[in-house]
Symmetry: D2
Subunit: 351 residues, 4 copies
């Protein structure tokens, strides 16, 4: 379709890249027509350059696309999604932004920089207003926008509806799926019938990214949320879906009904604008006593909803509950695509 | 050996009963010679009455023992371990205690009763002094002693060394093994490649049992520890070993070195007395950044030690760490046997 | 829609019944409007009578349908799918057939009876001609048609394209998913990180059902295929999808290309008639050296295709290969629905 | 102990090397005092050079041993076990043999060479007589002896007792544990809740190694067993233990009782000589209908026994059965150590 926006993926042959390929198939606004990868892959058709790790076969629409080098050549689209490994993302993303490209990145490299929006479209769409400051400070024609770590986004979406009650302290313990570690990722000898109570750097990311996303945009910068956040992160033998046990202390009194009502009633710009990848309800509260569960719930709503359940009083803080989100969809490819949709709807793709 | 104490197991054909059979093989003090089970099994040799669910084959020493009814008949030993299901344990355990038997129970039924010791021998051996009150109040010649729930014991043993710093608040999230649910227990359709964020009654048990065990014996009763405890309990696809993410607030300042030192230096009566099932160190602190792990650590030290790791500052409370214990050994059969060993060493089996 | 055929499910609250509910949602020909279950469930809305075990939530279209008793009352539809447990299926299915209902059964009870079609629509649609004999012999106005065991169907579909070369001997070893055992089915303590090399009755079913399905209809009865079939059946910790290692001896010479060509080119009446649940290709041959794999391939093609790979010479028989099929779709609910679609297309629903 | 034989391990820091370290702890004849590894590790204490992947902690007896380079320096012991990766084993093993060392290798590199014994001590101890021919042909003072692939050894030990009936044809399908692939080995994204129906090179190894081991030593060489062998190899999510579904055709008639009797009565030189690592019964036949199972049986008998069960008639060949063995013990470290024990008992270590 000629009116679609031509887009590309940086790091298209890796596992996150494959998730972008899957997620962008049949996208109504974006036409994935450019696939960037390492020099080793460049020049080959995607089907040859890629060992397809996801379910099913390599999608037909990209099988014959010839892979490009990750350089901002004239053929590279104006809008690119970055699925690059953190070890190489910094320089390449900057080169694209410098060249006038809009880089919508899933990499962690630029997330915590002061002039880079760390976005969850339902939560902090206004942080896009950092872009002009970023462009000015760096002398870029384009810019970089990021989405959070795959466990952070689940926490932030479950907390955002509670902002009205004042979030004071948050404790979270995660049980994270193996797909969150990419490929080859976690060795089966480590995780089969086991728990690994450690994910390098993850706890710090959850704590700081949460404060930034829930923070307030004050002139040129984001004032992080003052709430204290403490995370304990574990890997468990689950394929997709990060499960979080959350406990939260609030500034105001709120009944269980008010909490559940706030979650159920919560909508953001993606819902109001009807963005193509926006779920009708960003948070679904489940009544069943033993839900949500990753294997049974993670694929629902195209993986874009966070499921919450088991809200109950916490003897230490105020309330505790369970939250679940799809780490490779809402926590990676789907998150970035929704960011781009938001930017289009809000007019940021024209600038 | 003639000088061994003849003991029995109530509920010997079930999965916890099988764990007692395994744990008591070659015990230096106790001779497991009496196996009680349901009417359906009574009269059959153990090998026929039992579908052996644990690893290996039915131990040779009990294969031909004829199963008895769970009645305090003259042949029933004076010391019996109860592995009964909660649905039937109350009446049978009481009948045995009334008849003069010493019932060392793994069932939950009597744990929270005011005159029943809920014991972890390293932690609250003095709670045995409830026994005379129990006997007097109930008119029993025998008595009942209990061990905690399989997740509680891991928490309590990790916390006990910290009592010197004053325990004020505790948050714990568990990742519990399937063996904790008995047999058939958890359906594979529920837990394969999944997390179930719910275990019926478990959170309440962890919270209240912890307070009782760490409580102080004041004349006839236990004054529960005033600390607030909040538990979130999950089932994960692990065979043996409950992993806990703990966060704790202390009354006194303590450095990381002091905490680790307190854990490493902690010993109780079982260690001082050299009880046969006592581990040399009840808590082992591991330095590796990604340990303890259930599959790799749970079988060490005969399953009687709690492994702790990852001590670090908690932004919300004071410290957080990971603890691991063997739910069917230190959390069930081994716990009860250690209770009986303590009672023998302290002279309670004579009374 | 008024022109849809009103259908029912016997045993609708069980796990196979839930699979029918899922599979029949939005069916273009059939309107699932009647749900039969045990007396205990009858009279309740489906959402209350059922603990939903599959992914997601109970489908909206049946949530409020009031469950009926499994009796051929006037309200019971003329076409019913049977998802009943084998322990009760015989009498109820016969009562429905006797009353004039067409029973399309997934239960094993009537499969091997001489006058009952055991159908795989692509393979032996002509066996439907047993129906008049069945009706005459039993004095029924309705009739019973069955689909094979969930592992048999995968084998038969992989073998059917090879009939042209003459099938002489077949060896098969299965690795079967836990969902094949229903709910609660296999205990997690049995299958977690384990293999159970035994499934009661399964090997005999695979051997004899295969011979019947591939047999020839001779006047009133099916002459079983003379080929020898030997099955070894195992349970493995996989959620959905039975994987088969097959070795086959053929009467005629055939090159690897001819075998693959025969599989790829194979079509049956469901494809020629364009039945709604028919996959475009009943067998897909995969070139990748390590495929098919259950977790990655089982959900493709709506679960109605059998995937084959790794065709190579066998030093003992002639060829060996791997086959995979969805045990709860092509091996249960989808199989029965395709049977009913075939019957409609061939005019058997009018009779 | 001064009278123990000083031994070494080549490739001591890898996962197979770690298994040797575990298996040789407290060995009555061998004193593991030399640990060879890559240049990167050489010079460091073993505890620093190694990330311990097995259960528990690095064994105390090797923690402070300084790792050596894999060179036949004067300090290198006369008897070395090779746990080297196939990519580097050929040259290093040859250098050691050339220098006069006895190399007992678990690597696949030399297994199929005509003058190298491929040993299972109970099965073909006489193949050790290839050694002088090997030494002469290659001009070596030392020599190389190998043990089979981890799946081959299970098959061969189950078949060896049947040699008296004449083995004509063998079909085997394996379900192999992840530990067979080393570390990091199989990615969890590949095997979690999945089956991978492919293990590179494994089927060929099983077919050809089986023929060599069961072959007859004729003057200077082994005449492979003429039986046809066909293998299909799969990876399943099991930690330790390869499970095999075997079907066999025999030359002579044999009843089920005769087969089981042959397996149960089978003993070899390791049993007659009472070698330290020899299991009392090399094959244990289990009567339970659903055994052996890897998680429940693999650790029994120190992992040195092969468990067989489910013997029954095969409609295609003569008999089928299930066999299980410990792939990292009887299939790797334990196999090599038993080889060395055999060589000592038979006087080959003096030569």
């Amino acid at each position: 379709m000629s009116e679609k926006i031509r887009v590309g993926v940086l790091g298209a042959t890796g596992m996150v890249g494959q998730e972008f390929v899957n997620f962008l198939a049949d996208h109504p606004w974006f036409d994935l027509a450019w696939l960037g990868a390492s020099d080793r892959s460049a020049g080959k058709p995607y089907r040859e350059a890629t060992t397809w790790r996801l379910g099913g076969a390599t999608p037909a629409y990209v099988r014959d696309v010839v892979v490009s080098e990750c350089k901002p050549s004239p053929e590279a689209p104006r809008l690119v999604f970055s699925a690059m490994d953190a070890s190489v993302a910094t320089e390449i993303e900057r080169a694209f932004a410098h060249s006038g490209r809009i880089v919508v990145s899933n990499s962690r490299n630029h997330r915590m920089e002061e002039d880079v929006p760390l976005l969850v479209p339902e939560v902090n769409a206004d942080h896009l207003r950092l872009i002009p400051h970023q462009q000015k400070a760096r002398g870029w024609k384009g810019h970089i926008v990021t989405n959070p770590n795959c466990s952070t986004v689940v926490l932030v979406m479950a907390l955002a509806p509670l902002r009205q009650f004042g979030i004071r302290r948050v404790m979270v313990t995660t049980m994270q799926a193996i797909s969150g570690a990419g490929y080859p990722g976690v060795a089966s000898m480590d995780i089969n019938a086991n728990v690994i109570p450690f994910i390098g750097g993850e706890e710090d990311k959850m704590e700081r990214e949460t404060q930034k996303i829930l923070g307030e945009l004050v002139s040129h910068r984001v004032e992080p949320l003052a709430a204290k956040v403490s995370a304990q992160c574990n890997r468990v033998p689950v394929v997709d879906g990060h499960t979080l046990c959350v406990s939260v202390e609030l500034e105001k009194n709120a009944s269980e009904e008010e909490i559940v009502g706030a979650m159920r009633g919560w909508r953001g710009i993606p819902q109001h604008e009807g963005l193509p990848s926006a779920p009708p309800c960003p948070v679904i509260y489940m009544e069943e006593p033993d839900r949500p569960q990753p294997r049974r719930d993670v694929e629902r709503e195209n993986g874009m909803t966070v499921f919450v359940g088991r809200l109950r009083k916490c003897p230490v803080l105020d309330y505790k509950f369970v939250a679940l989100g799809h780490n490779t969809v809402r926590g990676a490819a789907g998150a970035a695509v929704l960011n781009a949709e938001l930017m289009k709807a809000e007019g940021w793709l024209k600038k």
